[in-house]
Amino acid sequence: MWAFIKKEFFHIFRDIRSMVILFGMPIAQVLLFGFAITTDIKDVNIAILDNSKDNITMELSNKLVSSGYFILNDNLKSNDQIEAAFKRGDIKEVVIFENDFAKKLKKEGKANVQLILDASEPNTANMISAYTSGIINTYSLELMKKSFKMPVSIITDTKMLYNPELKSVYMFVPGVITIILMLVSAMMTSISITREKEVGTMEAILVSPLRPIQIILGKVAPYVILSFINLIVILLLAKFVFAMPMYGSLILLLLESILFIVMALALGILISAISKSQQQAMMLSMFGLLLPTILLSGFIFPIENMPLPLQWVSHIMPSKWFIIILKNIMLKGVGMAYFWKETLILFLMTTFFIVMSVKKFKLRLE
């Protein structure tokens, strides 16, 4: 069996195409999606509601406006005007300073700023809030050094309007993870198994004392390892290149990913069992797995916006459930209690595909 796994690695490392798919693809995808969505912000219209009007809030407002990123569109007088200001549609952000801002900062060492954003363009909203917080943080550090001798903190509280969950921001990372795992696990295994069938080496292996289960395990083990490495690479890229937050448990994320990898591998075996050639396996995984994963899993197009029949179809896509799980862990930081249902569905699908693929594989032996 070790000999088998080692042999499989030889195939992978000596085939440039495999290597490109395995390692070039994830990196390219993350970077592509990441940078395609990332937009620089410049001259964003904002409004300020200054409830304190002291020297510090004035100075901070100046900092914001003079940063080059923001244009002060309006000075609001009260909370009632916020809604109307957004509805006019020309501002993207309202910055609110609380009462007695400077006083609180001196006395208690902290004061609150609230940022309210129009999140209907979620990515932009996120960028704006990040830039604003950045400027505020720099300013509070300056304050600490120059004016105060004690540590002070300006607490920013961000509120997204219209789209509080920021539906498409960072969606690409869970989506890319799903696609890559699907690609590496399902497509690569199905191709590599059919290749052995085509070349005729499968016969020799079947005649050997290896049991079918050993053959399957030997075949998929390298891909489990490689998928896992890919997963880590994507997560690292997401964290260090795109500052993607990771609120939930990493271990839970990895466990759920293993479940998904196993599911995809079973699918790969199933595909290889029903297809006769490498090309056929490739086509099946492309059109049967990859395209639906991209189009119907909610990765690019929100499922809620799909026509009803397509929504039904999306329910049978394992990737849909996996993306929900990933989003929950990565973006909301919630635990198992919130997505046990999705996990269960994924688990049942996995079991179903394993049973199916083992059956089909045995059938081929006859």
Binding site: M1, W2, A3, F4, K6, K7, F10, H11, R14, D15, V199, G200, T201, E203, A204, I205, L206, V207, S208, P209, L210, R211, L365, E366
Partner: protein, 244 residues
């Protein structure tokens, strides 16, 4: 006499639905014999080989290979047989040595045994200096000899050769048969299918299948006498004619 028979087939039937692929096959093969298993395409050869090598189960009948009943001792059987197909079953993207290591590994040989065997077999083939060459860089004839060496690496009692000489030139084929002879002298039973009738002459005994049945089984010399012809080619044609 009985224990000298390494393959015993009695009343073997294999049916796929209503189609009878193997219709009451009866034959034995002696230890160390070179047994030719001939027949036109679709005559049921492949089905029979699959059953003999434990890949497929007979519908009924008794099949004993290397002391194992193929029906319920398939796993024990598989350790005692070797297999080489027309397509050689070697990996093009691995070196000669790696191929040996892989097949040695799946037959459960230890690293030391694999090394010894590899050295021994490569020296015999005069290919020691090529052991780190990727297989795809080697000529077809070499690959074929390697495939045979790999198939007998674990010293099986029986080696199944399924059209082993397809697509090679006559000289290479000749050399290949010398290897087969050598192995058979060491006591390994060779069970070979082929489409080349000159090769049938090399076999000690030959069976010819047609439409799922064994139509003739004897030494090449006796078969020629029986059908009153000069060559094995004519024997084959006569049997095939009779069918149609």
């Amino acid at each position: 006499m009985e224990e000298n028979n390494i393959i015993v087939v009695e009343g073997l039937y294999k049916k796929f639905g209503s189609f009878v692929a193997n219709d009451n096959l009866n034959f034995t093969v002696r230890k160390g014999e070179i047994f030719g298993f001939l027949g036109a395409n679709g005559a049921g050869k492949t089905t029979a080989i699959k059953i003999l090598s434990g890949l497929s189960k007979p519908t009924s009948g008794k099949v004993i290979v290397a002391g194992c009943n193929v029906k319920h001792e398939a796993n024990k059987l598989k350790k005692n047989i070797g297999y080489m197909s027309q397509r050689f079953s070697l990996y093009d993207d691995m070196t000669v040595k790696e191929n040996f290591r892989f097949y040695g590994g799946i037959y459960g040989l230890s690293a030391k045994e694999i090394k010894l065997k590899t050295d021994h077999l490569l020296r015999k083939l005069d290919m020691v200096e090529n052991k780190d060459v990727l297989l795809k860089k080697l000529p077809l004839g070499w690959k074929q000899k390697l495939a045979f060496s790999v198939a007998v690496m674990h010293d099986p009692a029986v080696v199944f050769l399924d059209e082993p000489t397809g697509g090679v030139d006559p000289i290479t084929r000749r050399q290949f048969w010398e290897m087969i002879y050598e192995k058979s002298l060491e006591g390994t039973t060779i069970f070979v299918t082929t489409h080349y009738m000159d090769e049938a002459e090399y076999c000690e005994r030959v069976s010819i299948m047609a439409e799922g049945k064994i139509e003739a089984l004897d030494t090449p010399a006796n078969l020629k006498k029986q059908f009153k012809v000069e060559t094995m080619d004519d024997v084959f044609v006569k049997i095939a004619r009779k069918e149609s």
